[in-house]
Symmetry: C2
Subunit: 670 residues, 2 copies
């Protein structure tokens, strides 16, 4: 909405005045340094005109088609502004990705970006899987504006299980071409962003057939539309998949082939190759492409952190301004943030934002380490990194989606309104639960690593850092008696994860001993396996958070205190949410639950005072937060009203349908 010059609501001002620390400490901590904060703010400021334009469009009242057209206009504006900066190719590429990432991107494009896959998948796939001639050719064409690409892997009938893909690319040595086909309805590509009406090229993942044999899935660059007219090429069946819960400007599309021919050179041949005569040369190393998937998942953690941070900023500010109910008759109505039940709904998610932040940073560092090791053919840390990236993506996306919903509900009916921005944030976050690997499938991938690690621990082998706790558990080290300090709680998290993994491994083994085939036994143990991967992700987040807070080098004692409180809240909250397993697997006894709950209540009250300061520190400009409930000045009701007036239904005194439908019907009853 337009930047309104309204005074800050007195209740919000009061909170800001009594905050015990300087919110900019939070900002610097999250950005990494004051310099990076300045950089980010400049970058965000640079796009304020596009953000203002987008608000004027009131896209939420338009038709599906109009909204798509608006989104391309925004895309053009954003890309033009970037071009004006005259950066080098690599600088521009990185700049685009930083703009498209959730923090700013979900404000610019709001409900999905029709060209993001060109940058986030098409170009990286070329860089990672094309050989150098191919790279030169395609990257130059992309740079020249001839090519807008997307990445077409998922099919109507096939998602996470890649071996099941049905699209075929059959090599014809006569013409030195691949013939692409969609042999079934389920083989149609389905879901790629921008594929609908936006991209003119795609990297298509297809089953390669040559010399009569299937060689598994490989990537091909395929032109889909005429570069000049944008008309789909002959024998290409293409369109968009239709309306969705969210991401309605992502222009997700479908794609089918009818004997569509592409030159041999369009297969990306950095790894495997097909020679002119059709000879297949297998890749000697397919682990290098493995890293990209991990990288994408780590980037998703950052996106999720920003979705949740926005939602929690909205809920905190609204809860300060909103009043409801009285504790005493003569008093004014209570600010809803003063209800402990409300604090319980909101504050743990403030803590989660930081937990995600530090975890994502840790995993990103590990990713860079592993990447440099990979180039020296050192694959040692790859399984650990992969298993971490799987369970973290699953747990963080599930926590974020559930968190945003709880925050939305904490805003009562007004949270249900589109102008709260909470429904849109939810749509973006929950989508992450199924894309880039469905969450349960990912948890089970981590579980495989955990069960293997457990066996190694039982054999006395020493394990890498993230699963080191299994070594202790395997030795049968007795847990120290319960105390309420954080170290003891963290030990208990270790014990819960280890206990869950041990049980799942034992149940799996028992089934195999009973004669159940391995994969069927795995399936039968599925719920416990998924749960142990969740416990693993949780203990990892808890420990990373605790370590980061300890290492905090802020000079401000007040800020350090706030971070300690949030960390403790995270640890206590998730222990209570999962208290059954703490009673089962750690030294916690029944009577300790009450003490822990009191601790939770104490932390909520303590954080209460700084809640506004902390979310102010997330530093979301109103244009980026896009919420009538969450704006910095807290003028919630004025904004709700102004926004309602934008509905086209309110531009006329009465709608035609009364005259057309209702009145004739009503009168016919007389």
């Amino acid at each position: 909405m337009k930047q309104q010059r309204m005074a800050v609501h007195k209740d919000l001002q009061y909170e800001r005045n009594r905050c015990t620390f300087d919110p900019v400490e939070v900002t610097y901590f999250l950005d990494g340094s004051p310099e990076k904060t300045k950089q980010r703010r400049d970058r965000e400021q640079y796009f304020s005109d596009v953000l203002a334009l987008k608000e004027d469009m009131s896209m939420r009242y338009k038709s599906h088609k109009e909204v798509y057209e608006d989104s391309l206009r925004i895309t053009r504006d954003v890309l033009s502004k970037i071009k004006k900066l005259q950066l080098s190719r690599m600088e521009e590429y990185e700049f685009v990705l930083s703009i498209f990432a959730a923090r700013l991107g979900s404000a610019l494009f709001q409900d999905g970006n029709p060209v993001v896959l060109h940058y986030a998948m098409f170009l990286p796939a070329l860089m990672g899987q094309a050989n150098s001639e191919q790279q030169a050719y395609w990257l130059n064409r992309a740079w020249a504006g001839d090519v807008i690409g997307t990445y077409a892997q998922t099919e109507l009938g096939h998602g996470t299980f890649l071996r099941g893909l049905e699209t075929t690319a059959t090599y014809d040595p006569e013409t030195k071409e691949f013939v692409l086909n969609s042999p079934t309805l389920t083989s149609y590509k389905w879901w790629p962003g921008g594929l609908g009406q936006t991209a003119n090229h795609a990297i298509v993942v297809a089953q390669l057939y040559t010399q009569g044999e299937c060689r598994g899935i490989h990537p091909f660059v395929v032109q889909l539309r005429d570069v000049e007219t944008h008309k789909p090429l002959k024998d290409i069946i293409i369109g968009e998949i239709g309306r969705k819960l969210g991401m309605n400007t992502a222009n997700n599309g479908f794609l089918g082939f009818r004997n569509f021919r592409i030159p041999r050179e369009n297969m990306l041949m950095k790894n495997s190759k097909v020679l002119e005569d059709g000879t297949y040369v297998k890749s000697t190393n397919d682990k290098l492409t493995y890293g990209t998937m991990v990288f994408v998942r780590v980037m998703l953690l950052r996106d999720l952190q920003h979705y949740l941070s926005k939602a929690v900023t909205i809920a905190v500010r609204y809860s300060v301004v909103r009043r409801q109910g009285q504790l005493k008759l003569e008093q004014p109505e209570l600010q809803i943030i003063d209800y402990v039940t409300q604090q319980y709904k909101i504050f743990p998610h403030i803590a989660t934002c930081f937990a995600i932040h530090v975890t994502a940073s840790w995993v990103l560092d590990m990713y860079y380490t592993v990447q440099s090791q990979l180039h020296q053919a050192n694959y040692e840390k790859l399984p650990e990194l992969h298993s971490l990236s799987c369970c973290l993506k699953a747990v963080v996306s599930a926590d974020t989606a559930a968190g945003i919903e709880q925050l939305r509900l904490s805003c009562g009916g007004h949270g249900y309104m589109t102008v709260s921005n909470l429904p849109t944030l939810y749509g973006l976050a929950t989508a992450v639960c199924t894309y880039e690997g469905e969450n349960t499938v990912l948890l089970l991938q981590t579980a495989r690593y955990l069960v293997k690690s457990w066996k190694q621990a039982m054999n006395g082998e020493s394990l890498p850092e993230s699963v080191e706790y299994l070594n202790e558990a395997a030795k049968g080290v007795k847990h120290r008696p319960w105390s309420n300090d954080l170290e003891c709680l963290i030990d208990a998290y270790n014990a819960v994860a280890a206990g869950s993994i041990r049980l799942a491994a034992e149940h799996l083994d028992r089934r195999i001993r009973d004669g159940v085939p391995m994969e069927e036994a795995w399936n039968q143990t599925g719920t416990e396996l998924a749960q142990c991967a969740e416990a693993h992700a949780r203990v990892f987040m808890v420990k990373t958070f605790a370590k980061a807070v300890k290492q905090l080098n802020s000079k401000s004692e007040e800020f350090r205190q706030v971070m300690f409180q949030l960390c403790e809240l995270y640890i206590v909250y998730w222990a209570l949410r999962n208290v059954g397993n703490f009673l089962r697997f750690s030294s916690m006894q029944k009577e300790h639950v009450e003490t822990l709950h009191s601790r939770l209540e104490y932390l909520l009250t303590t954080i209460r005072r700084n809640a506004v300061g902390i979310v102010d520190g997330f530093d979301f400009d109103d244009h980026i937060l896009c919420s009538a409930l969450g704006a910095y000045d807290g003028n919630v009701y004025e904004r709700l009203f102004q926004e309602a007036m934008k509905s086209p239904l309110n531009r006329e005194a009465m709608n035609i349908s009364f005259e057309k439908y209702l009145k004739p019907f009503l009168k016919s009853n007389l």
Copy 2:
């Protein structure tokens, strides 16, 4: 979508062939009798032309305004068909309500009904709160088609806490009129369905002022628009509130008054009165109106049952047809319903549908009993009924919303598509968490009753049926040692609820003893109080379900078995979800958790065979299910494709925005 004449998918047919019982048993059980099933089917069949028309409209691609206009056209069609039946007034009224209820109504109107409040709130308020002359006048006018009403209570700044409402109605004895005003922005009415552009009258709840004193909130009938032209009357500020997460055809509106005058006779005077000279006559009995609120909440349980039943039907059928992954290389991909993790996501919600059904029936019976007692001035059971209706509305709406989301996610990416109908069902269900009493507020209302009951039990007073378990707990009866039979589990549920209530009451007392004022102590104990109300709702549902299954008078042993399995699944599932409290408060020991989990796994496998049969028994016609993933014939991919083709973006080879925005930008880079 159009009824496609396609063969039933072979995988679904296989499931139907091997079902152990006749699905119509489920149908008769839920409808009440074969006769009632026939009645309902006839009724649904009667509207099949309207349903088909609605599908043709493809409203999901249209603008907000177009969608509203479509919805009024549907409204006209539905009401016209009802008029043709030439029923008596009361018959017609009841018929309309049955059509508007969630099962059929959410298919006819899909995303909210712009006239439902006329029938569900406006007319009942007249019947309950108008005196006989007022009833005669207004009901006749409504019947004649002059009046389309809504019910305007909630304000921009005021929801569940009714005393906080700000709209004023000041009596002017000179003119014998009330003067309505909206003194602040927050006093604007906000949210009433149909208020935007549809209704021409409303029952407005306002603070009554007469003879210089505020007399609290009272209801007034207010004309808002001209009956002929539909133009808003002078000094009425009216419009719609804008786009929302869902219910976008409900036409929720806002309303403000500037010294708007209505005759004295427009105050509904069955209870309190204002005489001509301005004398206020207080109602001698305000408990009679209390029942309506309870009735609405019970009806919401039914609506929620139908939303969840639809979602679970979609997820089960899709999971049979969808294949993903292999257990063995040479085998075809597995039907996803065969993954235990998938069964775990879906089957508990099948059980929940029945749990809601039997609970709603029980509470409805109790409601009728209480209503007839009320007319004999017997208020004994009112507090129990009220407390049950509060916590059940809260728990069932939360379970249903979370359940639908889990079911949607169980359908992977395709569940995210609007044509799955899962996003719309979610939007409808989650709205119930905040309307008709925000869930946390309702849980705390129940908690008040529970804490009071606990004290009564401690004083040796005997309690009504639903809280009788507190009597045993207060006596300190030792729990019998754990065994895995259902009776023991149900006892454990009693113990969990009693234990939670006892603890919350003790903590509340401790705070009061420590000098915290009563209401502040209540707030500080809020999280535990809300949790104990949840535990109370759960044990009530568990016991009602178990009793209903035991009393099942079906002749078919197979059907009885299925119902027993579902009941056991419900009981085991929720015990495991909340296992910490079972370990704390019941005789369950750590080692029993594994046994219980094995029982869960066993039940999932057992129910697997009949899952399709059970959801077939919910008897949703494709037109009413409205889901490309859930249609009876299981031709999921064909439907997804056909539905995508309806997107207006797919009606043109290329969209204008390429030529307009993207191409000029791309070319400018050269």
